[in-house]
């Protein structure tokens, strides 16, 4: 199969980057491109370096933004950059280079929920559906033409990390669907409708401003707890709450059946509409 792209550069971290890297590596049998991987953000459980070693893919760790920008700027060949779970913002000068094409995976259905932590915001807002978008990268954040989208429902108990995992799997499916047309430069990319009001979610924004109102709606509290739940990845700080006038933080939470309700120290039980309880363990500051 033919492509004008001589070089493919994958940038990202985590499962999506790893799976996409494997896919592109396997497709080297069909094309004659050179493949390399750049890890810009370091992740404690990352396995991408190992994937690179196993498959003979050049691996580089470039955490400094300026160094990465300079490295990419020096690329002279016709190159496709695949941005998969990557938070590096490509410099405008790079986007203007004719030999560079960049595609990015966004974990929401653009034009909705552009910016950071989209899985959190869709859960927080009580959306029932979300999905992924592969799009060309342009100067505006998450504004480029859409190459492919895949949809999925959001489960009533789904946590941010669970949804993120499903979206990463969808991203890999979507990538496999569009890979050949992107390489052939024949993808039917569709411009986004950016005419409506569009809110760009920024990295420092925390759903609910990071405060859990335990005296309010338990369903809303459950959504807030689930939407900031990335396990031990400190994407958001622990949620704050107020207990008898004292400030506290959430340690962990769980939905439990009524028969599992066991009162204990520093535990709250909020009744959910289903009859279950939202069990919250907290620590007073």
């Amino acid at each position: 199969m033919n492509t004008n792209f001589k070089r493919l550069v994958v940038i990202g971290y985590g499962k999506a980057a790893g799976d996409i890297l494997k896919y592109i590596a396997d497709r080297r049998l069909d094309y004659a491109y050179q493949l390399e991987f750049i890890e810009h953000e370091i992740h404690a459980l990352s396995v991408t370096e190992n994937i690179c070693t196993e498959r003979g893919i050049p691996f580089q760790r470039i955490p400094e933004k300026e160094v990465l920008a300079r490295y990419l700027d020096e690329i002279a060949e016709r190159t496709l950059i695949v941005s998969a779970s990557n938070n590096f913002l490509f410099p405008g000068a790079l986007l203007e280079k004719e030999n560079i094409t960049i595609i990015n995976f966004h974990n929401a259905l653009l034009p909705n929920y552009p910016g950071r932590n989209a899985p959190s915001w869709v859960i927080y807002k009580g959306e029932r559906e979300t999905g992924i978008t592969w799009h060309y990268v342009t100067a505006g954040v998450d504004e480029g033409k859409i190459i492919v989208q895949k949809r999925c429902e959001i489960g009533p108990d789904e946590k941010a990390y669970e949804l993120t995992e499903r979206l990463m799997n969808l991203a890999c499916e979507g990538f496999a669907e569009c890979f050949d047309t992107v390489l052939a430069e024949s993808a039917q990319a569709v411009p986004q409708d950016l005419s409506g009001e569009r809110r760009l979610y920024r990295s420092k924004e925390i759903p609910g401003d990071g405060f859990l109102n335990v005296a309010g709606d338990a369903e809303a509290a459950y959504r807030l707890l689930r939407c900031v739940d990335y396990g031990k990845s400190e994407i958001f700080p622990p949620l704050r709450l107020e207990i008898e006038g004292r400030e506290a933080v959430v340690v962990r939470y769980r939905k439990v059946a009524p028969e599992k309700r066991e009162e204990g120290e520093k535990l709250l039980f909020l009744p959910l509409r289903s009859g279950d309880f939202l069990k919250i363990k907290y620590r007073v500051l």
């Binding site: 404690a44 990390y161 031990k232």
Partner: protein, 77 residues
């Protein structure tokens, strides 16, 4: 303690129970999302907090490493 840990492993990653090697993450037996689930279950089951510094591939390389981690955390608690 061991029985409870193995129960949790069985629920989230049955393969971990019979895995004999020492590289469960890199061999694709377990992924980072499964680790999050296991950590959450362990915290709840033993009423412990597992600090992010312990959530590294080395502590989840096989069943024995996970058991050792929980044992250590229970001793410290």
């Amino acid at each position: 303690m061991e029985e409870k840990v193995l129960e949790i492993l069985e629920e989230y990653c049955e393969e971990a129970l019979t895995y004999e090697g020492d590289n469960m993450m890199e061999e694709g037996i377990i992924d980072s999302f499964t680790v999050i689930n296991i950590v959450s279950e362990l915290e709840d089951a033993f009423d412990i907090e597992i600090d992010a510094k312990y959530v590294v591939a080395e502590n989840f390389k096989n069943k024995a490493a996970i058991l050792e981690l929980v044992e250590r955390l229970l001793e410290e608690a």
